[in-house]
């Protein structure tokens, strides 16, 4: 190994290198005083870090009770789309809607009205009346106005 195996020193110190890489590092260390010193420093740092006292453990029973309460609270909390909207967001949306409503509309191209199409539409809407046109023909329009108004509920009588 020609170059210094600097980044392999921590895994080497932790004894987790594969055998072939470990053999290469060992061969380099045998010939390189600087890397041996570096390895000693690495080991010193690892020992100090590992010697760090563990934090004072919390009361685990209370810890689990708190955790369960958090889970229950999260389960009860409405989803974001069901939550009441913050005032700032509501105000922003209202302002955007107002702006949209007040914004001058883009000029719309005026087309000539197709009167024939309108007539067809109006006739189409009265097709049910035309189906009973034979009844209408037999009525005196002035006297039987109520009958005409309720034409859709007047039974059609055969032969008048």
């Amino acid at each position: 190994m020609d170059t210094h195996p600097e980044t392999a020193l921590v895994p080497f110190a932790k004894d987790e290198l594969a055998p072939d890489e470990r053999a290469r590092v060992e061969a380099h260390l045998a010939a390189c005083e600087a890397c041996r010193r570096a390895l000693a420093d690495v080991r010193a740092v690892l020992v100090e870090l590992a010697a760090a006292p563990a934090p004072a453990a919390p009361h685990w029973g209370r810890y689990r009770v708190e955790l369960r309460a958090r889970i229950d609270a999260r389960a009860r909390a409405p989803r974001w789309w069901r939550r009441p909207m913050p005032i700032a967001v509501s105000a922003g949306l209202a302002a955007a809607l107002l702006l949209f409503m007040l914004w001058p509309p883009a000029p719309v191209e005026q087309r000539p009205v197709d009167l024939a199409a309108l007539d067809e539409t109006a006739i189409g809407a009265r097709l049910d009346m035309l189906e009973h046109y034979d009844v209408v023909e037999r009525l005196d329009l002035l006297e039987e106005l109520d009958v005409i108004r309720e034409l859709d509920i007047v039974p059609v009588r055969d032969g008048g």
Binding site: E6, T7, A8, L9, V10, P11, K14, E16, D41, V42, A44, V45, L46, E48, L49, A50, A51, A52, P53, A54, P55, A56, A57, P58, W60, Y63, R64, E66, L67, R70, I71, R74
Partner: protein, 191 residues
């Protein structure tokens, strides 16, 4: 995590949590609570933050156990959730401190983080406190990835491959992080 013969594996428990087995969840919490709290504490150096973040990690496991596909070990998946939450928590806290009190934030954070880990014996703590304080103060100044790599590798005794899986980076990158972190910490021990 290795288990005694006959003990249900973490992965099997996680599958049962996905099916809303409350007992399985309690078992997972009991198995991991100490490690989760210690890891969060090492990354955040604050008891309340460690409690908050580690509980949040368990909550995420409860909510998303169904998404654990078993491609990695449960411990790797759980550590990944926890480390991401801790680093995110730290980022948000620092941003908030800078926003609220730009001059005081760093100072107060440093004071909190300079405290050595509370040990069982006050006398022992006092004698070891100064050296450990300097060391952890240096750890605090490492980049988030270097810090996470050091804590996972040294404190949690994860292999380089496992650290890489947790942090979702390559093994050579983990080696570089560890090398640079150790270089920085070596200066504290040997000024």
């Amino acid at each position: 995590m290795s288990h005694e013969r006959g003990e249900t594996s973490d992965e099997a428990l996680c599958a049962r949590v996905a099916a809303r087995d409350e007992g399985a969840f309690d078992q997972l919490v009991e198995r991991y609570q100490a490690r989760a709290y210690r890891l969060a504490w090492s990354l955040l150096r604050d008891p309340e933050d460690a409690r908050d973040v580690s509980q949040e990690a368990f909550l995420r496991v409860y909510q998303s156990a169904g998404r654990f596909r078993g491609e990695a070990r449960f411990s790797t998946w759980f550590y990944r959730i926890l480390v991401n939450l801790a680093l995110d928590h730290r980022r948000r806290r620092r941003w908030w401190e800078r926003a609220v009190a730009p001059d005081r934030g760093e100072e107060e954070t440093a004071l909190v983080e300079r405290q050595p880990a509370p040990g069982p014996d006050p006398g022992e703590r006092a004698s070891e406190g100064q050296a450990m304080t300097r060391l952890w103060d240096a750890v605090r100044r490492l980049s988030p990835q270097q810090r996470a790599a050091v804590v996972l590798s040294v404190q949690e005794q994860l292999s380089t491959a496992e650290v890489a899986a947790v942090l979702e980076i390559s093994e050579p990158t983990v080696r570089v992080h560890l090398h640079r972190a150790v270089q920085a910490l070596r200066k504290v021990l040997k000024p």
